[in-house]
């Protein structure tokens, strides 16, 4: 899929690398600010409480 992406990006090598960098950062931002915060509460790794009364 990355090969396909690379072939379909317009421009020369430098432009392609810049686009790849932007796409990568966008993907990281999507993960950090949307997907991980959404997934995390469903994972059992962050429970620090005991049942209250």
């Amino acid at each position: 899929m990355y090969v396909w992406l690379w072939r379909h990006l317009p421009g020369g090598l430098a432009l392609k690398m810049l686009q790849v960098l932007v796409l990568f950062l966008a993907a990281v931002a999507l993960l950090m600010f949307v997907i991980f915060p959404w997934v995390e509460p469903h994972l059992p790794i962050n429970n620090v409480t005991v049942p209250g009364q």
Partner: protein, 313 residues
């Protein structure tokens, strides 16, 4: 030998030129439709594409997992510190205006709101957290949370707190580093409460972080007959540890005589398999100077400052 290898390695390219005549029948006829064997090159391409795709997928998954660790350990801390700063500012402002005297009941209405400050000299001068009311996920992303239904600071019974150990500001990251006799300071609008981690003897008037032979497994003998340890590791379902007399369901809050503080966090680090519980007993109470209009002098008293030199960090 090397000749043979090269020959094998080079074999496909020479075989390619004769191919062009091949594809037209293959493409037009739809491959194996004619009952002939599928073109080995086409099968090879498919396998290669599949393996390459799988490899890229796995590498991508690995990167995502790594990013998740970065998120858990760093990014959540940034979020949490921002939230903590916000609740701390709000609490300071209310105190300076003389607002927010903690109600005796109906504390749940303050959910997510700062109610007191927490200091632990063992963790250094920088260790200061505003405790929020409530222990749901949103509360604990702001700082240590006060369990609904447990007592207030300084009250008879149990002032119970929960806090994250890894990420989310990790207020209780080093809870396992607390020693018997260490002081845990809770500042409310009107009063400084100095709790002493159980284990350093029966006299808790002054916390004693250097008590000889003090162990967190030493227990405090509650008048009810229950023995409360300084630290215990319990199952996640053991809600009894935050009862007015920890682990003694027989004593209702009205009959509690000792003023406990209990802190809960996950254990071991990065998992939620168990809970680490630290119990402390109230030692000293230092009232703040009233300044009128519900406001109090919030300079740190000398007795509290002295606690930092006592632990000798």
């Amino acid at each position: 030998m090397s000749d043979g290898t090269v020959a094998v390695g080079d074999a496909p390219p020479p075989a390619d030129p004769p191919e062009p005549p091949g594809p037209p029948p293959g493409g037009g006829g739809g491959g194996g439709r004619h009952g002939r064997e599928p073109d080995p090159h086409r099968v090879g391409d498919l396998v290669r594409m599949f393996v390459r795709g799988l490899g890229q997928l796995l590498v991508t998954a690995g990167v995502i997992v790594l990013l998740f660790v970065v998120y858990e350990v760093y990014v959540t801390n940034w979020f949490a510190h921002r939230e903590q700063h916000r609740v701390h500012q709000a609490l300071e402002q209310e105190w300076s205006k003389g607002e927010l005297a903690l109600p005796e009941s109906g504390l749940a209405a303050l959910d997510g709101h700062g109610i007191a400050n927490l200091y632990i000299p063992r963790f250094g001068e920088d260790y200061a957290w505003t405790i929020v009311q409530g222990t749901n996920d949103a509360d604990l992303e702001k700082g240590p949370g006060h369990y609904d239904g447990t007592q207030l600071p300084g009250q008879k019974g149990d002032f119970a707190l929960a806090g994250h150990r890894v990420g989310k500001g990790e207020p209780f990251l080093n809870l396992d580093k607390l020693r018997a006799g260490d002081s845990v300071v809770v500042e409310t609008q009107t009063t400084w409460y100095v709790y002493c981690v159980i284990g350093a003897g029966t006299d808790h008037a002054a916390c004693d972080p250097s008590a000889p032979g003090a162990s967190l497994s030493n227990t405090y003998a509650d008048p009810s007959g229950t023995k409360v340890p300084g630290r215990e590791i319990v199952s996640p379902s053991d809600g009894n540890v935050i009862l007015p007399v920890p682990s003694d369901p027989a004593v209702p809050a009205q009959q509690a005589t000792v003023r406990y503080l209990t802190m809960t966090t996950c254990h071991p680090k990065f998992t939620a398999a168990k809970r680490m519980i630290v119990h402390a007993v109230l030692g000293r109470t230092i009232p703040k100077q009233a300044k009128g209009n519900g406001r109090y002098d919030d300079t740190i008293p000398a007795q509290i400052k002295a606690l930092y030199t006592e632990v000798g960090n």
